[in-house]
Amino acid sequence: MKRLLLAILPHAVLVLALMFLVLLVLHEYNPYMNFIGSSVSRIWLLAFCVLAIANSVVCIVRERR
């Protein structure tokens, strides 16, 4: 289970990063839809930040072993 989670983690970060790239492009296309500033976007941003931190910690720990 731990191996599976560690294997999925970088992919989750990648997917969320790509998702926000898409949202940034859509925001330029139509700012009135509020893709970046909405409450839904902030929840996904929070998840992205948490996963990015976790992924970074895992990478740093592996690097130091």
């Binding site: 992919h11 330029e28 296309y29 139509n30 839809m33 909405s38 409450s39 996904w44």
Partner: protein, 355 residues
Amino acid sequence: MQNKEREKNFLPLWAVVVLDTLALGAALVVFALFHHVLPRSVSPAQTVRPVSATPALVWTPSATAAPTPVLEAAGDLPENTPEPDTRSPWAIQFESHFTEDTVITENSYSSPNVAVEVSRLELRHGDRLNVCYVADIYIADIRSFRSYLPQDEEGYGMRLEMGEMARQSDAIAAMTGDMYAFQGASLVLRNGELYRDGRWQTYQTHCALFYDGTMAVYGPDEIDYEAAMADGAWQIWSFGPVLVRDGKPSGDYGSGMAVDDPNPRAALGYYEPGHYCFVVVDGRRPNYSFGMTFEELAELFVDLGCECAYNLDGGGSAVMMLNGQGVNIPSGGGRELSDIILIAEPPAEESEAVK
């Protein structure tokens, strides 16, 4: 050997790319679902009442009817005593537009309290032809200018077609609102009721209609919700951009690449207390009507003579109705809306919001 065993446990690269792409698609679908597909339920949380210093144009003739002359102790009323005028100030000011009886034609409605006339304009911008409809509106009572938010058993936030909402609200004239249920989390104030308290979301533009009939527009971070409600805001909309301010184009229309292009539009204009207009521009039909940019729409409101004007939800949402009939040709056949603004006869009894 160990490396070969490890390689066997990894998916091939193409499978990883496909799975990540599918995961990205799924994440975007889930985002869209919660962002603008699923309605967000709101419920009235507070009633905003008109301030005493700014009396509402909610007309109760008994309140300010002209006093009857004092009778002489032994005589009759003097001859030619004028009947006290019990009409509202707006009904007197705009009396040439109102009619004693209700008159309904193909493009107009008039009664003692409401006058609406829709005109069709064909405008040319460069090589683009644009068809727009202007509803010129006079009201005698502020309660005639309302919003309608359909609700189901879960509360407000549901979507309905314009025709059904206009029917449910007894609208004489109706136009799309600001799709409050599907954008942002700004404050939502309709018909004197506070439905969503987004007081910290001031970065959007706003338009406020007050109980005294005045209308004000606000750029990003300009509105003070507390002050607006204290001043007796009757409606607050949030979509934008601000098109006209103080009789001149605002010049600041946002930077969305698609939104700035010519599109179908719906917007609200203000002349003076009691006199307003709804404007809908058809678009996305090159052989009929191309659509307008915000700059062109602002120029139209300036040409109409509006003091201020505010853009509402356009595109496929731009719809206008009069006397139960559609006025324009909505792009893509229109769509379901979360709210409309409407003109109707004032309610017979004083509403709770204005007591």
